[in-house]
Symmetry: C2
Subunit: 489 residues, 2 copies
């Protein structure tokens, strides 16, 4: 066997093991009996150790030195294997272990601090996490910007400066739009209770309406909705709440966006580095365009209204027009995960600026709460009332996720670009969506983006599909137009 073939066979086996580790995570959130947790911790550590050893194996370096790609796809595979190898060996094993240990403790301390509304109790361990992550960032950056190196873990070939340029350009317009919207009366909401088993039945119908392939996936309930797995086994979870069926339905559509992306990648790339979604931002572009530009659009909600009427009877909304407004209501609120399409990006920008400053050493952990609260009031127009609604609301920093937050809004920006191009290519799309038929839209995304997996960089993936360098303008005009109409601005 050639070095290339050996390396590909080895990588394929590593990736198969990675799928197992991922499915173990799925099991933990959906099926695992509660008392199994301590043993599961050891199991997870054991397979992570196997994966790390394989990824950092000197054999990989030898093969990379000798391998010759047979074609352009092979060259892309080598590029991705090299990126993963370089990233893995850059971080000293002792540092990686220390980070794993400290973040594991920090997560528990964060949860306790949040429950107690006690920022001071979280500060010491967050300082440790920040210090360790900066050390890791320096190792990864090898002289470059350490926060850029962190972003590269989730969105490679994208710099913090590029992201900041996009975010800074969006922020004033978003602040202005949200303040104009919130001056208007709130549209009428749903009333009554919505049977949870019936929600799950309609959720399955929605998943299939968006092209989710249940022969290669399944839908279960979990506390936090997520998508898990690549290739032939991509599972999603959702949740139900008697009072709020939209939470269930739009969580499902969002996760179907992630899962359909994985399912629609060319099977030529199965269990190879190209056989997974290329980045968190591009992944989020798919979940967001399914959820928002398609799922919360006026056309599709016409169909959903009729479906919900059939399943749940009268729930206090008399026509599709009012239903569309109810789906897209903009609310005051402190919590990122509960934010609407308009305000979500403001939550992200706040976190991006603060974590970037933390990593640059321009902000001390002790000053984080004040910085958060100032920024929140500036962008949202009212003060944070308590830490669990402020800087203690997200788990991310406690577990060492820095550089991850901006990919959520990058996904929205990408979705804006894709939506603009897709609408141009499919002028009759809304007639189809109004009948619950998403096949042209999801087919367009499959053909123009999803099938390529990791073949191109995130930026090139978006540019190849949308015909433009990622830019905030399409998202901003989409939001401006949508909420101007809904709220009669």
């Amino acid at each position: 066997m050639s070095a290339f073939a050996e390396l590909m066979a080895y990588t394929r086996e590593t990736q198969a093991l990675g799928e197992i580790a991922g499915r173990l995570g799925w099991d933990q959130e959906t099926m695992m009996p509660a008392g199994a947790a301590p043993q599961r911790g050891e199991e997870m550590a054991a397979i992570e150790a196997v994966l790390h050893a394989r990824r950092a194996s000197p054999e990989v370096a030898d093969w990379l030195a000798q391998a010759e790609a047979p074609d352009a796809t092979g060259a892309a595979q080598l590029r991705e294997i090299k990126r993963s190898y370089d990233r893995t060996v850059k971080v000293p094993a002792d540092l990686a272990k220390e980070i794993a240990k400290v973040t594991s403790q920090a997560q528990g301390k964060w949860a306790a601090a949040r429950a107690a509304e006690d920022v001071a109790a979280f500060v010491p361990v967050l300082k440790e996490v920040v210090a360790l992550k900066r050390e890791e960032g320096q190792a990864l950056a090898a002289g470059g910007d350490l926060y850029d190196a962190m972003v590269a873990d989730y969105e490679h070939e994208t710099t913090a400066a590029e992201i900041a340029a996009i975010f800074d350009a969006m922020r004033p317009g978003l602040v202005d739009l949200r303040s104009r919207v919130l001056e208007k009366p709130t549209p009428k909401g749903l009333v009554g209770e919505f049977d949870e088993a019936a929600q799950m039945q309609l959720t399955a119908k929605l998943a299939q309406a968006f092209g989710y392939d249940l022969d290669h996936g399944r839908v279960d309930k979990a506390v936090h909705p997520f998508s898990s797995g690549s290739g032939l086994d991509v599972r999603i979870t959702t949740r139900t709440n008697k009072a709020d069926p939209f939470n269930c339905f739009y969580s499902t559509i969002h996760e179907v966006g992630h899962a359909a992306y994985e399912q629609n990648i060319s099977h030529d790339y199965l269990l190879t580095p190209l056989g997974r979604g290329v980045s968190m931002g591009v992944h989020e572009s798919q979940s967001r365009i399914y959820e928002n530009q398609i799922g919360r659009g006026e056309a599709f909600t016409t169909w959903l209204f009729a479906e919900m009427r059939e399943v749940f009877g009268d729930f206090g909304i008399e026509d599709a027009g009012s239903f569309y407004k109810a789906v897209n209501t903009v609310h005051k609120g402190y919590i990122r995960t509960e934010a609407d399409e308009l305000q979500y990006n403001l939550h992200i920008m706040l976190r991006f600026d603060l974590e970037r400053a933390l990593m640059a050493g321009d902000l001390e952990v002790e000053d984080l709460e004040a910085a958060w609260n100032d920024r929140f009031e500036a962008d949202f127009g009212y003060a944070v009332d308590r830490p669990s609604n402020g800087c203690l609301q997200d788990v991310h920093w406690s577990v060492g996720l820095f550089g991850y937050f901006p990919t959520y809004s990058l996904g929205n920006v990408y979705a804006g670009c894709l939506n603009q191009k897709m609408r141009g290519d499919l002028p009759g799309l809304d007639q189809e969506l109004a009948t619950g038929d998403t096949s042209s839209a999801t087919g367009w995304l499959r053909e123009n983006l999803q099938q390529f997996g990791g073949l191109r960089s995130p930026r090139d993936t978006i540019q190849n599909a949308s015909g433009m360098v990622p830019d905030h303008a399409p998202l901003m005009s989409y939001l401006e137009e949508k909420f101007t109409r809904i709220y009669g601005l």
Copy 2:
């Protein structure tokens, strides 16, 4: 760290990975979407390769050479690690691969041959399997008896000659008892349909009645009931059939016997070689004593009758006495897995003698069908009507399982010994069982057998608990007495 500590830490990690592989098998039978099968095959092969490499690692030999056990338990751990290591390295890697390849094909050919009632279509590949397994047996036996070496994979320190002595002593009595029973009229059976969701609710109650800990386990449906996992995560499956609720309930009780054994092993042995059921035979002794000596006993069925009446109303059985007979009905039949407590062992003895002859070279694969049919008619009194009811009924030989069948009946023999001792120790047991309270019985098994896991050999495990060398006499008098009373012989 000492060599002993290093070896134990390494083994613990291997065993954690083994638990992951086992849970992947559980997922495949319960949760996996059908289309994921090809990818799952690669995942399973990848983790099996990791496990094999770890088990056969020269490091293990080095540690074994240097390790000093700190105490008797440590010595037992070393004994088990050495047994596993020796077994793994005895079989050449190429032979192991060839067996995996051929048996994987053979299973498909067996299924097709069974569906087509075509023994001749199965003979060539079974010849290959037999030849390869004999080669493996020679490697394992290292000069000893090759079938003994195969049995040792499932029931170590037990020879085929010892098993044959027990089986040969039982066979005439069983043949005689079954012929006397089948001359009598068949007791009245259940009538009507039994809601499958209600069966699953009662199955959960039964599982808990037998001490199954749902905080460290779960019950799902699968085509074939099984128990999976060790330590803190031991899951079972069952199945439902509208016409036959006993299939569901007694499958559940059987699997709870396996699972409770795993759950009740001392947590001091968690993720160590002693932290699993010691052998297939001892495992089967637990599933059988739960299912038969306890679950199909007159006392417990009194409670079950009342429970079923409450859930299902009238199902054509008017009192607990008739219900007890219905639970223990002896039927004519060809299929091992559908056999009753009395005839099951005759099915096993037939297979044991034939597979032992195949491995010894005393029986050719071409002559297997005739040998099967002759033996069946001799023991059961009527002729096999078609191959799927004869030598093509079981998957075992196609996948290379030789030496496994006898452990089913060894389990029954062990259960007989245990039951005799337990009844002596707990004279008031039946009063408790009649109220659905199995805690004294399951507590006795936990204290006297289950908690010890792999500490002693299978034989010593039974002897330690029952106070006797495993012997067929208790099982035979139990069966004779039980069926004499039920059938008024």
